[in-house]
Amino acid sequence: MDNQPKTAGEPVSRRSFLSYSLGLSGLAFSALLGVPLAGFALNPALVKENVKWLEVINIEEIPADQPLRVNVKFRRKDGWAEKEETKSIWVVKLGGEVIAYSALCTHLGCAYTWREEQKVFYCPCHGGMFDIQGNVTGGPPPRPLDRYETKVENGRLLAGRLMRKEG
């Protein structure tokens, strides 16, 4: 566009002024549309979840040094619906301490089991293994078993937020 005649005294030619304006309004329109669309799509990832304390089990019912899988019923809001769901939590009483593990392997989230003979939590998906303290003893899991924040009220064990320990 070098051969465009430039009117004397005009720092910007009429043509480039118009293309800039068009470009700018294009940007403005995209933002006007893009921001609400992005917020709409990402909303479930951006809202803070309020974690409820779940009643897991009576403290007395947990055997010592012997992991126990408890199926906990709870109500969960799933989009527009509210559902009764069951979540498995592994509880372990070690000495005086009670630990509640997420029942999902920290590798890629399969359900694992307790192998009494070897005293390990064993994950069938890729052979991940954890000892009773949740430490990785074999296979691909990158970090120890995830634990729930816990507290005891009236002799009942409550599980709260899931905590992740990088290994």
């Binding site: 479930p44 990832a45 979840e49 969960r76 989009g79 527009w80 890629l108 399969c110 998906c125």
Partner: protein, 216 residues
Amino acid sequence: MFNQVYDWMDERLQLKATVRNILEHPVPDHVNFLHCFGGITFTLIVVQALTGMFLALYYVPAPEQAFASVEYISREVAFGKAIRGMHRVGASLAVIMVVVHMVRVYFTGAYKKPREMNWLIGVTLLFVLLGFGFTGYLLPWDQKAYWATAVGTNMAGSVPVIGDFLLKVLRGGTELGSLTLTRFYAVHIWFLPAGLTGLLALHFYMVRKQGIAGPL
């Protein structure tokens, strides 16, 4: 009759020149069966689009109904098993064929200048096809679908720094549920097809504009 209609339209739109240009486009001598795989992939994609549109007549993307609606298609709708089967098998075939196509392009060196951009568009197309596979696999909402998605989204979750956010974006929250199913469905039937159409248009435009790469 046909000729009369054709002439009538040609008089207004000058179709004949365009049609001749397409049908009589010369094909270079060195082009052989190895150059068919892109076209085979495209044919499969057209079949996927058709069978998919028809599956959507009965499919419902909600946790309580998805599995039942899929079973209904298989058990009760005429040709239901066949249409579903075509869509399932076609999905795998398309991925296989696109990989063969890619290998052909690689070994004939057709990705080199001036076709670098079309290679990149090709790579994007590959990911779009894999995206179709990933989102489509969840839709029957059976155990296999559910756990494949649980594990697949967990993989995204293991990305450093943004993993957690990515996982929530994919699942529509921390847990797999209604919102995962609706967003996978929307992506499968709207977002990806829109992207695929645009990318294919570019891909074919470039193939035509640049011509098929020369012999080795």
